[in-house]
């Protein structure tokens, strides 16, 4: 099975948070991979939605999209529509999960993908929100997956591209963001959530072999620590095999990839690919 990479650890940990019969609005990269792993493991009726107007995608193993607006993202989809339509389903409340990566996230779950430095004279102009602002504002529960490093976990982001709990307490609701809540943040070190009153980020679980001290060292702010710290179960051989097959394509004959039944989509209510 080999060494588990940080990405594999994060995607598989995050995949377990997605329940069956739910709808997930996923970004490309780890959120999409984690959602696809969930569909092949415990959540065969998880509907994956991508912002390019793609509802109920299947994905062709080894041909994962790098944009949510391309044919690989639409492989085996149940519905193709326009972009605005997809986001309006989110605004209407259909999407159980919004699932994002984050370049920079702060203690209240605010995400910056706009500028390092000031908006007027940025030191680095980043690409921008894309759909992240809308996903975090409109989906019912938001999950964030990102590597645990001090430069990513900052006390206050330089710029709030995508609003989490803003300045904590009830500030998100007061800004008019009546819907949506931040569920979990998954990293290669830990599982975190937001303390209900202050809305500050809180440690809830540790990846196997990681200590709370190590997590604090890699966090650029004072992290709250929950009562019962769960030890997270390492990725299983089956989860890793599915993840790697999705990423790399089917293994050579005799490999320990997905079972034939799963590859054929037998557990799915819809065919795995176009007829």
């Amino acid at each position: 099975m080999g060494d588990v990479t940080a990405e594999e650890l994060m995607a598989i940990t995050a995949s377990r948070l997605l329940a069956d019969h739910k709808v997930v609005f996923a970004g490309v990269g780890m959120p999409l991979l984690a959602s696809a792993v969930a569909r092949h493991m415990h959540a065969p009726h998880l509907t994956i939605v991508l912002e390019g107007g793609i509802i109920g995608t299947s994905l062709l193993p080894g041909k994962l999209p790098i944009s949510t607006n391309e044919m690989r993202a639409a492989y085996g989809a149940q519905m193709l529509t326009d972009i605005t339509d997809v986001f309006l389903y989110a605004q209407r409340g259909y999407f159980d999960y919004g699932f994002l990566g984050a370049a920079q996230v702060d203690m209240y779950g605010n995400i910056n993908t706009s500028v390092i430095g000031s908006m007027d004279r940025p030191r680095v102009r980043l690409p921008g929100s894309g759909g992240a602002n809308d996903i975090i504002s409109l989906c019912n529960e938001v999950l964030i997956v990102t590597q645990h490093e001090p430069r990513r976990f900052v006390e206050r982001v330089d710029f709030i591209t995508s609003p989490g709990y803003l300045s904590g307490g009830d500030s998100r609701a007061r800004a008019g963001l009546a819907c949506g809540r931040l569920g979990a943040v998954v990293t290669d070190l830990a599982l975190l959530d937001f303390e209900p009153a202050s809305r500050r980020m809180r440690l809830r679980g540790l990846q196997a072999g990681v200590t709370a001290g190590q997590v604090r060292e890699q966090t650029g702010f004072d992290l709250l620590v929950g009562g019962d710290i769960e030890e997270l179960v390492p990725p299983s051989a089956e989860e890793l095999a599915i993840y790697r097959e999705l990423r790399d394509g089917p293994p050579p004959a005799g490999g320990d990839g997905m079972t034939d039944a799963k590859r054929a989509g037998a557990a799915d209510p819809v065919p795995a690919g176009p007829a």
């Binding site: 062709l60 391309e70 309006l88 004279r121 709030i160």
Partner: protein, 317 residues
């Protein structure tokens, strides 16, 4: 916030003739409809169904002081910047895609304050075009509230007159010109698209002038055989341009995949030489050819066949 108000756009639409006429013209003539200082909205998204034949024709003509909007902008933005055509970018995201990293030419201009980037959320861009398409000055939404994006743009809120709830008032955008690439169109401008439609229908209906390029110009009978596939009616289209492979090196749903090798070569030049690398790309790929056909011919039949095979695999054909 924009040059044209919704009511002015509406008055102009009322006064415009809608002859059912042959609207075919070359990409060069169609790009000639665009003026210095215009706001040009580019259809498709990122590297999907970008109207590249029209973009190249516009680049070749070296307009000045343009604003360009689109849902997720790809490296065409850098080409407009490097040729001195662009003052303002209006979108939610600029790059090529995650594997290619940050866009260096875009950074060069925006970080120096030489071009303005109005960053909206993706849905807000969609609602701006939709409001323009609907003929209303704004649309209420629950998005963008509380973010620093709202503050930077001066986005206003509105209280619901029935419930008192606070909503973002996302302003209409009525571009001067829309550039759209489609699978099929007839000479009158009835336009059909396969697959995801991005924001194209709203962009076109919001715009004051609409230029459509199509992979195939088909008969009105072929359009009428599948009317459910029609995205735009003839009276919403001003010019029709025949452009086989008209999105290359970007993808066109069901017909050809994106040419990632082409992106990688561009990205390497832009990273190494900045704006000079992007300008060189325009000279070699746009200026060198009298029309887009020359660029397609230079790509070569083998590469085009491979991209078509990629599309067939994903269509399960």
């Amino acid at each position: 916030m924009e040059q044209v108000t919704v009511l002015a756009a509406r008055a102009e639409q009322e006064a415009t003739g809608r002859p059912v006429a042959d609207k075919r013209m070359t990409a060069e003539d169609a790009a000639g409809l665009i003026r210095d200082g215009d706001h040009v909205a580019i259809g498709g998204t990122l590297y999907s169904r970008t109207p590249m034949a029209l973009v190249f024709a516009l680049l070749r003509q070296r307009r000045r002081h343009l604003a360009v909007s689109r849902p997720l902008a790809c490296y065409e933005i850098e080409l407009f910047l490097a040729t001195g055509a662009l003052d303002r970018i209006v979108t939610s995201w600029v790059g090529i895609g995650l594997p290619w990293g940050l866009a260096p030419v875009f950074r060069h201009y925006v970080e120096r304050g030489e071009a303005r980037y109005d960053e909206w959320s993706h849905l807000a861009m969609g609602l701006r075009y939709k409001a323009g398409a609907m003929g209303v000055p704004f649309l209420p939404s629950l998005t963008m509230l509380g973010s620093d994006l709202a503050g930077a743009l001066g986005l206003q809120t509105v209280d619901c007159p029935y419930t008192g709830e606070q909503l973002a008032a996302v302003p209409a955008l009525n571009p001067d010109v829309a550039l759209i690439h489609a699978h099929r169109a007839d000479m009158f401008g009835n336009v059909q698209v396969d697959g995801y439609r991005h924001m194209d229908a709203d962009i076109a209906k919001a715009a004051r002038k609409v230029i459509v390029s199509a992979e195939r110009i088909v008969s009105p009978e072929e359009i009428a055989a599948r009317p459910d596939q029609t995205m735009l009616p003839h009276f919403a289209v001003d010019a029709v341009v025949a452009a086989p492979h008209g999105s290359y090196p970007h993808e066109c749903y069901g017909l050809y995949g994106p040419d990632f090798e082409h992106f990688t070569a561009y990205a390497a030049a832009a990273k190494e030489r900045g704006p000079a690398g992007a300008l060189r790309y325009v000279e070699e790929n746009v200026d060198r050819h009298a029309s887009f056909d020359g660029f397609i011919a230079a790509a070569g039949p083998e590469r085009l066949a491979a991209l078509a095979a990629d599309a067939r695999e994903l269509m399960g054909r």
